[in-house]
Symmetry: C2
Subunit: 476 residues, 2 copies
């Protein structure tokens, strides 16, 4: 990606015009135009970068509307940005223009425990939502691993989830309504203040997962769930990934639905063995971490049900954590992975494809075949219960041959995913990283409808241009 | 509504042309054109009626596509119809034209227990889905009271739910993907075969609840849930609706989320007392039916938790059903209601508004004030946990004054609902019965977007014209 400071096509004069419109509304302290200051707002966790011409920090719905209106009138691209923890480049302003940071839209507007909901601005962190909800005995199901640093706006833009989705669903299942500003600077209110409603088309779910291409979300009404009475964690160690995957299927078919069902494959196990002090049995080739929540009185039976499902000749050990210390210890393997991967391969490619659970083992096996073929280390872990696999390609980005191999390998990973009736992304979205593959994943008629819907919300194509759909489709 | 047999504007010749196109594709046995035969396809459970010019019975996605294409080319209105159990007139062909009955699209295409899903044609009955799922240890959460006679296509068109929505969600939360034919006769595939996915815009949820105005659904991929180990039913009888509503709020704030939490108000209790042999305490004014599912071992604690929430000075009795006979007996009151209402007021108006749970008692109280003001008997029951109230106006439709009063009264019911941040429909939809109130429920910008989306899917406005949006907005 180009890293020049400003768009050559967009002249500085237009940006000055924009600043003049916005300054009286936002105040100088909420506008950045110095390229050095704008710089950090040009990246996200994809490590792609493109410097915006301007960064603005609205505090209210009304200020967002003023900003979108001005960008609309002056035909300036606008990218809404949470905390930049996304991995697909969705928040990178590839056409320069304005980055609208929601950092200062960080108010919890309303907590309504009687109706089990919370209204927040998009810049509120996921962790803040969880902590606020907890005070009233509730939680909000989406729990990405970046919860402490990612914003609700970003969670909604990408339909983010995390381990709990297996039992409680994603952002789409846990958001009642939205307030937003479309690409035409129209203020809209979608959805309901109630947990049921069928009145007109579902614009709420249409905006969730649309990666900021249809509207800028300014408020979200989140559905809250009562905290379970208790939780328990189990760890099952297997000789083969195949046996672990079979156990996952058995677990998913019985009534004790875990609130997390994570797996770690052979390559991960080897990585941990070679690079950490964590001790694992020598014949361990796959791990499952299974968390069960519910009533205290049901826990012995629930854990027994899981234990029964976990049984297999290839099961080496199954442990249950009964104390907070034991829980920490069992999670240790999983938690050690991310920093380990960062150390070993600082520029790893982290995909989040989904396959039907019945294809989990076959998919993992095939990645090891690809790893050999392309001479790239591939390690897999993720949310087994949903078939959501974080495929990590550990490459040296300074080695051009390996970069090319990684591209070819990824193409095969995606093709295999789709062949298995899987999905290119479970929780990260498309952004720019996967937009070239969109036509493989969505058939032409559905894709055409999406692009027409895009034009309905944003006829001048100013909102996050070049994202999701390949860039040829956009005209800003 | 007009009940003339055929549209005066649409000439018989066009219909003949249509028949000539469809006959070789569908066969004579799948086309009805005799007005006497078409007649029964002109109604739904709203008791509105309008005779279609033609009724067709496709068996496959491809046949649906042929039918939509022909209607598109000849500009003939097309209404998709499940089993006509809807209450809003959504399936009534008010502009005549073609009724596409999904009766013969009744195949369960695939059951995939390993991936916990089922693919069905839209004409499959809800009950068939439940029975088929049960064989594999699963259920599909939406359970309208018409389950034995309503189709999945209709459930999806109206985002139908039922008691279980309180814990398991509605059709929107339990459908992974759809196959459909748009108003331009384009075949589309939406959503995923997996339980997670964030790739492009959510067309699945956009179609669910769109009442056949965007596309004709030809296949649905339903997400299945494992059947719980056990279920228990409790009945709590209160001296006041206020006390019952307070109990509902307490129940909703703790971790034992019931799988049904139904209520019956004072007017219903009186009705039952006066018209049935069911015995209820003399000071009973409100009833709650609370069903809890989960692990057997947790049941005593779960029921105790509910009992604790139910406690109040106004609680008269709380009973738990421990045998199937006892369950039947406790449900008896609720089950007696519908036939009773049909007997007393065969043309009752049955609304399904939703208010935030915290306003439940206040809303019910206000309906009794309205009942007195308008001299109309109003009885309320419904899904208390979601605040979803079936407001029943028992009127004599042959009394013009009462009919006028009912209209005025309903207007106040809807205004009150919206004032309480409620929703006009929880599970029935808008159809024609509530389309005049749509502009009160949805703000103009969101409404304009919906209408533009309608034009994207159905530019010639042939699909279910005159529904949801008021008729002035349509042009067929």
């Amino acid at each position: 990606l180009s890293t020049n400071n400003h768009s050559s096509a967009r002249d500085r004069e237009t940006i000055e015009q924009l600043i003049n419109i916005l300054r009286p509304q936002l105040g100088d302290e909420n506008i950045l135009s110095d390229p050095n200051e704008c710089w950090t707002y040009g990246y996200d966790n994809s490590r792609l970068h493109c410097c915006p011409d301007l960064v603005v920090f609205p505090r209210t719905h009304e200020e967002v509307q003023v900003i979108v209106q001005a960008c609309h009138d002056l035909l300036i691209p606008l990218v809404a940005r949470g905390r930049g923890t996304g991995t697909t480049g969705a928040a990178v302003p590839i056409r320069h223009g304005v980055v609208l940071s929601t950092e200062k839209m960080d108010r919890v507007i309303e907590v309504d425990p009687l109706n089990r909901l919370m209204i927040v601005q998009p810049g509120v962190l996921n962790e803040t939502v969880q902590q606020t909800a907890k005070e009233f005995g509730f939680f909000w199901p989406p729990d990405p691993s970046s919860a402490s640093v990612c914003s609700i706006g970003g969670n909604l833009a990408h339909n983010s989830a995390g381990p709990r989705a297996i039992k409680y669903g994603t952002a789409r299942e846990n958001t009642l309504g939205l307030r937003a500003v479309t690409g035409q600077a129209k203020a809209i209110q979608t959805g309901f203040y109630t947990t049921k409603g069928t009145v007109g088309f579902d614009l709420t779910r249409l905006l969730i997962g649309s990666e900021g291409t249809l509207a800028v979300i300014t408020e979200a009404t989140l559905k809250l769930i009562p905290l379970p009475e208790t939780k328990s964690l189990m760890r099952a160690i297997y000789k083969t990934m195949q046996a672990a995957a079979q156990a996952v299927m058995r677990i998913m078919q019985q009534p004790v639905i875990p609130c997390a069902l994570e797996f770690i494959d052979t390559a991960c196990v080897n990585l941990i063995r070679e690079n950490s002090s964590i001790s694992l049995p020598p014949d361990a080739n796959a791990l499952l971490l299974i968390e069960v929540d519910g009533m205290r009185a049901a826990m012995p039976d629930s854990l027994q049900a899981i234990r029964d499902c976990a049984q297999a000749p290839e099961l080496i050990a199954i442990d249950t954590a009964n104390t907070p210390q034991a829980v920490t210890q069992l999670w240790q393997v999983r938690k050690a992975l991310s920093p380990l991967l960062r150390d070993i391969a600082p520029k790893k490619i982290n995909e989040d494809i989904v396959v039907p659970v019945s294809h989990l083992a076959e998919f993992i096996e095939h990645t090891q075949f690809l790893a050999e073929q392309y001479q790239i280390q591939i390690v897999n872990f993720g949310h087994a219960g949903n078939g959501n696999i974080h495929v990590n390609l550990l490459i040296d980005p300074n080695d051009p041959q390996q970069t090319k191999n990684a591209d070819d390998c990824l193409r095969e990973v995606f093709a295999l995913t789709l062949k298995m009736r899987g999905t290119l992304s479970g929780e990260h979205g498309i952004g720019i990283a996967k937009s070239a593959f969109l036509t493989d994943a969505i058939e032409p008629n559905a894709l055409a409808l999406m692009q027409q819907i895009k034009r309905v919300f944003d006829p001048k194509m100013i909102l996050n241009p070049g994202k999701i759909f390949s860039s040829s489709e956009q005209n800003t």
